[in-house]
Symmetry: C2
């Protein structure tokens, strides 16, 4: 069993469902690790891994964020904090005419080496919050090629498109190629 | 010589001028240390010190931030990042009728033990940026009892009131009491 270090049960279930068929048995761990202030999600998970690898031989961690493209790095690495402070209404006040945005996910799998897998989904910021599903920035994000926000989609529809799903697929590709003799 | 770990020369000069008469000889060091995502400046410097203390016997670090009181934790620990992303114009859009705000500084002096010294200055957010002095949030902060922003004051006037000056005074009190037999 490889510890997936997260306090988010929904995320743990998504990972477990995806990775178990590929032979990676995950357990949920609420062990704590430092999340640094950094310019990218990759820097956050790499630093976390440098601390965790002193104590663990194998683990999985993940970080994700929402990025408003014309405002570099915002809210980005600080998505959770910004959501909790100024909220979606505050974020909407800051978006101008260029409404492009994306979600990014970054998974790090450590097995003696840090392997990083990324996924993203591009779209636009809605002019107001819409929908009751999902969490975080889902009510204000409309993925490209769609006219509903993530919060207006079923979990299955959202997972099909999601940055986290894409990062998991990238990880799956790695696991498959590794297991091939 | 005790390393003050900062890349800000102005800050280094302010510390040196203040602390040298108290017998603390500082050298400027650009050594890097991790700044974590945290709820308070104190948590940021305590974590930094936990890493630095593996390699150094004595050092000084400092973190400071701007806090808009009705928006908990904003921009706070992330002041520098928010200033660089949404800027002062973005911040002004988020302030409502309650315009109270404060600056906070947190100095950590490590000599085998972490000693933390805090200072703050309370005031209000101006309705627009004013003045060309200072840096960061100075053009939009009016300290209580004044009608000019920090950026409209001379450096001497600002230092007299500043959060950093108050944290340095608290540290000076500690150094004086420690040196007393």
């Amino acid at each position: 069993m490889i510890p997936f270090i997260t306090t988010n049960e929904g995320k743990f279930e998504e990972f477990r469902t995806f990775l178990e068929p590929l032979g990676l048995q995950l357990s949920m761990s609420d062990r704590e690790y430092p999340e640094v202030q950094a310019d990218s999600l990759e820097d956050v998970v790499l630093y976390g891994a440098s601390v965790l690898s002193r104590e663990l031989d194998e683990f999985v961690i993940e970080d994700s964020g929402f990025f408003i493209d014309p405002i570099p790095g915002f809210p980005g690495v600080y998505s959770k904090h910004i959501h909790g402070s100024i909220g979606l209404d505050g974020v909407l006040k800051l978006v101008g005419t260029d409404r492009r945005a994306h979600f990014e996910a970054c998974i790090l799998y450590y097995d003696g080496t840090s392997h990083v897998f990324k996924g993203e989904v591009t779209g636009t910021v809605a002019t107001e919050r819409r929908g009751t599903g999902g969490f975080g920035y889902d009510p204000i994000f409309i993925p490209d090629g769609h006219d509903r926000t993530f919060a207006e989609m079923t979990p299955a529809e959202k997972n099909e498109l999601s940055h986290r799903g894409r990062a998991l697929e990238s990880m799956a590709g790695f696991l498959r190629s590794r297991d091939r003799p």
